[in-house]
Subunit: 127 residues, 2 copies
Amino acid sequence: MSKLNNKDPKSDTGRSFARSPCPITNTLDLLGDKWTLILIRDLFFGKRTYGDFQSSPEGIPTNILAERLKRLLENGIISKEAYQDRPVRYAYTLTKKGEALGPIVEEIAVWGLKYIEGTEANLSKTN
Amino acid sequence: MSKLNNKDPKSDTGRSFARSPCPITNTLDLLGDKWTLILIRDLFFGKRTYGDFQSSPEGIPTNILAERLKRLLENGIISKEAYQDRPVRYAYTLTKKGEALGPIVEEIAVWGLKYIEGTEANLSKTN
DNA sequence: TCCTGTCACTTTAAATTTGCAAGTAACTAA
DNA sequence: TTAGTTACTTGCAAATTTAAAGTGACAGGA
């Protein structure tokens, strides 16, 4: 039951990985897609509600948004709390683990600004 | 004809983007998937041939490998050259633009090592 | 010459994921 | 009562990914 390359990381002993024990591979399995790091970026820019994320110019589909928020919650990268009752409204914020993604987001922005023509640094909230 | 949010980046004036002018978004459109940064990692570890990439423990499907190498070539992140004739064999290497991805890969590795239990730093070539 | 093997891909078909649109539930304000 | 907002969920077509097999160029050995 404790085979390597188990399809489900985290299951079993915690020492089996979906693809390999490489930290890069496993980080990519968590946030290596076209939307997750955009959410992390938005969180760094102070966005906190479901509606805030939807309003970013990239236009994330709502089903993808819900699923990504769930995955980030399950992995302890963000936390969710009601910031008001009547009606209940939720705010998502980065945990310490999530805040630690800062340097990754920063280096991606630096590279993009330097090598992709026409990209612009954040102009307030028009990410 | 020069609308923003054009579906085809690079088309038109070069000032229209697929999703937004954000450097993070555009970098993600280039390498935000589960395989591209693994190839970049392999290149940093000195792998250079098609076979080298195939032999990494993650087991990239060959059609994906071919397509990603093509995209990285088209975007000037890697270059391809024959390193022998009879039979012709090709080596892929990082360009200056590709080498500049070093800090991103590094920060991803640092985060993964710290926050994903069980991941291990590169043990020679067993990425 | 024929056969086997390697390297660098390409093709095919099925499985998975994505994107778009519409729908739902809770509640509030008019 | 009706309309509006927020935070999702559902359904389905389209796009992407995956595994597996196939192709073509060439080399070496029998």
